[in-house]
Amino acid sequence: MTNPAEIWSYLASQPLLWLCATLFAYWVGDAVFRATKRQPYANPVAIAVILLGTVLWLSDTPYEAYFEGAQFVHFMLGPATVCLAVPLYANRNEVRRTWKPILAALVVGSTTAIFSALAIAWALGADHELLATLAPKSATAPVAIGISEAMGGQPTLTAALVLLTGIIGAIIVTPLLNLFGFRDWRARGLATGVAAHGIGTARAFQVHEQAGAFASIGMGLNAVLTALIAPWALSFFS
């Protein structure tokens, strides 16, 4: 029989192992999520990330080696963003009727997210590079990474902050908006897409179809708006 170390070194150099691990980790996360009757704290992304992070740490695998395999899943983010046109089209009449509240909530939500994040981090002593890294965190990952890079931030750290923002948003959105008594699924969805991009949108689709459609509108529009607001907002804190 071949030395297990040789099999391991083969697997470690191939995408197969980590692609397989990513799908299984998510499957476990999703199973836990269903088993808890879709409680927001059992976020499937968070569970999968904790599982995979632990496995990488125990097996002493660098993130770059993991990403070699996981990049096939990561690649699908682009096509998935394009696909958001489909729920947008399905809700076209609703969007046409409510373009005023959509635009107002988009501008207020996006500006609030960026300015409050920068102001708090600045007050707690974050330096310019960290602020540039943080500013685009409410935009969807590929967009936020591009903005962060252009402003002198650290793109990969931005990706991590984007993800944390999404998970935080997905966890707090339902209890928080219930607390304030917002019942309009359109308002709830749009605010979620603007504040917590794709992960929030995924959460919104789990809760309500219309909320999901409005979340995708919010996320798509916020990707454009963040690119315009973030550099301007950053100039106030340097």
Binding site: P44, A48, V49, L52, L56, Y63, F67, A70, L77, G78, P79, A80, T81, V82, C83, A85, V86, T98, K100, P101, A104, A105, L106, V108, G109, A113, S116, A117, L118, I120, A121, L124, G125, A126, S138, A141, I147, T156, A160, L161, V162, L163, L164, I168, G169, L176, L177, F180, A187, A191, T192, V194, I199, T201, A202, F205, G220, V224, A227, L228
Partner: protein
Amino acid sequence: MVAAFAFILLFQLLGEVISRAWLLPVPGPVLGMLFLLAGLFCSARLRALVQPTATGLLSHLSLLFVPVGVGVVAHMPTLLDHGAALGVSLVASTALALVAGAATFTFVARLGKKDDT
């Protein structure tokens, strides 16, 4: 399904090329989404072709964030160094943005209703 996927990728490709050619602040996939949206308005055949694949892909949207998410682990030292600043900032700004967005939408939607009657 293959044709649907080919068209989705084609729209992304168009978006990517145009975004880069004119150095637009809008990323390629977002432009691709806008182009696909225009396409859906124009063609019933495209709608029938793309819809099942797009719905399937979007129902697994969460999965697609896992690879980037694992990067959080790679950044643990930096995240812990700035734990207080980043933690408070992320939680507070997300909560504020959610409430501000939902409140603005509800408020402006009510204004609109009053105008109509």
